[in-house]
Symmetry: C2
Subunit: 122 residues, 2 copies
């Protein structure tokens, strides 16, 4: 049986921005949490839609055509294939929902890249 997931407690094990950790798995999808601060990198996921839910702080998801501004309690789904660059205020906390196959920097190789099989589960 799975255990309950207290998001605030889980964040104690997430020290660094832009290093997502897995907190749950279901139906081939993963629930991840991440701290976010400053600018991430432009990337896209060819085969996966990606949901961002802001738990605390503010996140601007830059797309090539617009910027989607999210506050706590707001979500956005980036459709597969769409280039995006998240930019966050300090202290921002995110919940992500996406397929287990999702690579955090998509088709980009970058210092932020963590291969899906190397993601830490907390």
């Amino acid at each position: 049986m799975t255990a309950k997931i207290n998001l605030a407690e889980k964040f104690e094990h997430v020290p660094d921005p832009w290093v997502p950790k897995v907190v749950g798995a279901l139906n081939g999808q993963l629930v991840k949490i991440a701290r976010a601060e400053g600018a991430y990198v432009w990337h896209r996921h060819e085969g996966e839609d990606e949901l961002f839910l802001v738990l605390e702080g503010r996140l601007a998801i830059h797309l090539r055509t617009e910027v989607v501004e999210l506050a706590a309690g707001e979500c956005f789904i980036v459709p597969r294939g769409v280039e995006h660059k998240p930019v966050a205020e300090p202290g921002t906390r995110l919940l992500l929902f996406e397929p287990a196959s999702t690579r955090n920097t998509g088709d980009l190789d970058h210092a932020y890249t963590i291969e899906p099989d190397a993601l830490e589960r907390i």
Copy 2:
């Protein structure tokens, strides 16, 4: 392109407890919100794991072997095939992640049943 999802605004379109509404879709999964109050019914989903995230209030997920008590900011994933009965304090608000195929009362036919293709998207 999808639009951003403000959960508080979406709840203005969810008047009744235990009537989930769809707020997003990705990778064959749905993001739903629901008000919860009092006791739901025992049921199980044969083929789908189901995630509950409590946004406000308190939810007790009764299983046959234990009761999982969730407050705001806590999640639980009910594995496929596991019987469960959610019981909520008045005013509880939930976010659900589950496959698009998920029937809200699982294998049970009940007054609460809404067939997946009849779910309202808000």
